[in-house]
Amino acid sequence: MTKELTGNEIKSAINAKFNDLIISVEHDHLVIKNNKEKLLDFFNSLKKENKFNLLSSVTSVDYMSKFVVVYHLTSIDKNESLIIKIPCGESRKEPSIISVTSVWRGAELQEREIYDLMGIYFHDHPNMKRLLLWENFDGHPLRKDFVS
Amino acid sequence: MGPARDSFLFEIVYCHLSKDPSCDSVRYINLSFIPVELNWLSFSLTAFFWIFAFVNAALISVLMLIWGERRLIGKFQARLGPNRWGPLGLFTPIADAIKVMFKEDVEPTLSDKLIYVLAPILMVVPVFMIFPVIPYGAKSFLTNISVGVVFVLAITSINSLSVLMAGWASGNRFAIIGGIRAVAMLLSYEIPMGISAAGVVIIAGSLSLSEVVEAQIIPNAIFQPLGFLVFLVASTAELNRSPFDITEAESELVAGYMTDYSSMKFGLFYLGEFMATIASSAVIVTFYLSGWRGPSFLPIPGEFWFFAKWIGVIAIFIWFRATFPRLRIDQIMSLAWKGLFELSLINILVIALTMAIWPDPTSTQLLFMTGINWVVFLGSVYIFGKILSPNLTGNKIDKRKVIYGLD
């Protein structure tokens, strides 16, 4: 059975130097600051030190007040999974976050999908363009304020 | 009667027309009305009659083959095959032909118009020229040209030009890749085909197809199995049939060189391809399966044996198509140059040596030569199949099994 880490377990598992990134500890996930400089280090250490080598899924939710990018990570070696949420784009204008493609290649298409449908820009992504919709499509359909 | 003296097919029409004294008047009801002075007229009429008959017979046999192939592949694939239109679906190819004729004839803007139109014609016409030289029976042939073997090999190689023309003229990238593949493949397979046919010529001591058949006391397929194998594989490749169908490669190139062809131009390619299958099967029967010769104690005419073997070889081609996946271009090329080419050389070497030792073999010597050929056949096929073929595949291969996850 894959062990789903609780918020507290995730907090104790991660490297202590990233503690200042934590916004809050929820019962089944951590909420992390959208810090452009340290975020990639944080994910790198999750992958290297904590062996979370499989990025199950990256997705995003539009909560109107903010966008949240949700990472589901799995460790194949330890059979554990965790959830990390990163709020971004509080002002709803050009929300952006660092791309994790350099850590997990599996994020490549998912991040493009998020950019396409939710309009969150991923910095340092090798090929940041629309995935499903056509190039000059107006708007991002999965946003709650999208009017077709 | 002139040049076609031995041809029964020629004689039967000619002697009904001409008052030629060399005709055996006892055998024919004397209906002939054209005087000997107008012999050219009799010749021409005879020729026209047979051209008409052969072209139509070829076209009808293509329709039969289309039906037969679909029925047979249906059986191979555990389904019924065509069965709606006519008894056993026999009229399906006719419906198909009508459909093809009434399709819109598209000419792509980027195409090279003249070559685009010429290519399908060049595909079909040469194939018609093979049928008259095939001896269907001891005397049932239209003409017995003295260089029959060379003629057949030359005519069958024209279609590679047609394929290249079609691929080039379409101005389509799928088509040009198909055309280039065709030239590379068809030219390569000409060579083992020609060399293994040389083995047949050595046995017969003649290039005439009739004499090739007459020389086969033991059918060449049994006498020189190695040559038969090479020739069969090479003609499959020449016909663009599975597993060598890379020029049209449905799953890769859509339809290869004929991607942009429609209507009757496409129909001509289709026709040419099926007719080439029929013609090549006839050539294989003549070269290797002792043509019209059958068990002589049975009172059955040679034509029957020829047609029976003919249908058998066509069925083998259909069987190939239903069974084999396609080879990759590099594997096909290395099979031709590193496999079949050497095998055909070994074959011709052994045949030539044994013929040099026993130039005029008795029947025991013939059996002995067959034995030698079989030893060489099994040995070289083993060497090429087991030891050398892993090097022909282009990528490493091994015996593979899945392992299971441990609990």
């Binding site: 059975m1 894959t2 080598n53 499989l54 199950s56 899924s57 997705t59 939710v61 539009d62 589901h72 799995t74 194949i76 959830i83 997990w104 290649r105 599996g106 994020a107 490549e108 298409l109 998912q110 449908l117 995935l131 499903l132 919709l133 359909p141 999965l142 | 191979f76 555990a78 389904r79 990238r173 799928f174 890749i177 593949r181 599975s242 597993p243 169908d245 490669a249 449905e250 799953s251 890769e252 859509v254 198509r321 239903a322 069974t323 084999f324 996946p325 396609r326 080879l327 271009i329 590099d330 594997q331 990528n395 490493k396 291969i397 593979r400 899945v402 392992i403 299971y404 996850g405 441990l406």
Partner: protein
């Protein structure tokens, strides 16, 4: 000799792109220099549509994602809803959906293998053999729920109707016949010289790259990683049945074919065990309302779909329809490395590799 590279658009309409997939491929002669997958031709906005449907209505949307494996799509979605709403499913319902899911896996793998061999150039023969078996499964589905492809069989808490009496003998007959049919297929294909030489050591994917690119399912197992969510994270009653996980040794196209073929055999075993363990009882708890209304929160339950890890990330705001529904589509993620896998190989290998990845455009584009 100066040569020119050729750039070709393969698809969206092409005999072997399995739907409306498009690749912009650059060739040097016959060798692939570059390949860029372009998708989105079948995008129907399922995730947006889900936001305005009730939880039960969304089941029909999931059918249309991976349309060769509707049952497992239903299963992934229903498991996520059950976790979100805290519904405890009825036992018989769970067994029924496990049987349905495993039958669906056999059907989906049959399609995958059949079309892979077709991409190799076999003239439909193995494909038709396998589709004949799939047809029997679809007939079983028809008995179970009245539909063949878009089943919508599962409901929160179980399934919507019990399998009829005539279903069980038919299923037993299928289980008896299938191993023999598989032997036929294996005799025809597994040691076939052409298939072996075309697929072995082509498009090799090693373990680390596969994991790093979030590749899951038979593709990951073909690379030798023992990661099957039915075994590592048993959902439903997969912890009560035993089965083996076939793993590849090299991670090439041949391994991907072999792994799928052996997984069919394991699925047959699972169904047999399910038949022993299933007992009469309700197929769905009485208390589950038609209009599921979970509390606020989110849930993600990954399952082992025929193509890989499939999961629905559902966010609820307490309403009757999800606030956000995201599909973790295995087909999409398995495409990530397609470009890297085919570069340097021949044109013909491109289609074989694409076939061995086994994507379904309905799921890629959603």
């Amino acid at each position: 000799m100066s040569t020119e590279l050729v750039t070709m658009n393969i698809g969206p309409i092409h005999p072997s792109t399995h739907g409306v997939f498009r690749m912009r491929v650059t060739f040097d002669g016959e060798t692939i220099i570059d390949a860029e997958p372009i998708i989105g031709y079948l995008h129907r906005g399922s995730e947006k549509l889900a936001e305005e449907r009730t939880y039960t209505q969304i089941v029909t949307l999931t059918d249309r994602m991976d349309y060769t494996a509707s049952m497992t799509n239903n299963q992934a979605y229903i498991l996520s809803v059950e976790k979100l709403a805290g519904i405890k499913p009825a036992e018989r319902g769970v067994w029924l959906r496990m049987i349905a899911a495993e039958l669906q896996r056999i059907a989906a793998h049959s399609v995958a293998i059949g079309f892979l061999i077709n991409d190799l150039g076999a003239w439909h023969t193995p494909l038709l053999y396998l589709l004949r078996e799939r047809e029997k499964i679809l007939e079983l589905f028809e008995m179970m729920c009245g539909a063949r492809i878009t089943n919508s069989y599962l409901r929160p808490g179980g399934v919507f109707m019990d399998a009829p009496d005539e279903f069980w003998p038919s299923l037993n007959r299928f289980l008896d016949e299938m191993p023999e049919r598989l032997n036929d297929i294996e005799n025809l294909l597994t040691d076939n010289e052409i298939i072996v030489s075309r697929t072995q050591n082509v498009a090799v994917l090693n373990k680390e790259d596969a994991i790093n690119a979030s590749i899951t399912g038979p593709m990951l197992r073909a690379s030798g990683v023992d990661w099957d969510l039915r075994h590592r994270n048993p959902y439903d009653f997969y912890d009560k049945v035993s089965f083996r996980r076939p793993l590849g040794t090299v991670g090439d196209n041949n391994d991907r074919y072999l792994v799928r073929l052996q997984e069919i055999r394991e699925s047959l075993k699972i169904i047999e065990q399910c038949l022993d363990l299933i007992e009469p009882g309700p197929i769905k708890p009485e208390e589950v309302p038609f209009l599921v209304r979970p509390g606020e929160g989110d849930s993600y339950v990954p399952i082992e779909a025929p193509k890989g890890e499939l999961g629905f990330y559902l966010v609820s705001d307490g309403g009757i329809s999800p606030f956000r529904c995201h599909v973790r589509a295995p087909s999409l993620m398995n495409l990530t490395l397609l470009r890297d896998m085919v570069i340097g190989y021949k044109i013909a290998d491109l289609f074989v590799t694409f076939g061995s990845v086994d994507v379904n455009m309905g799921e890629v584009d959603r």
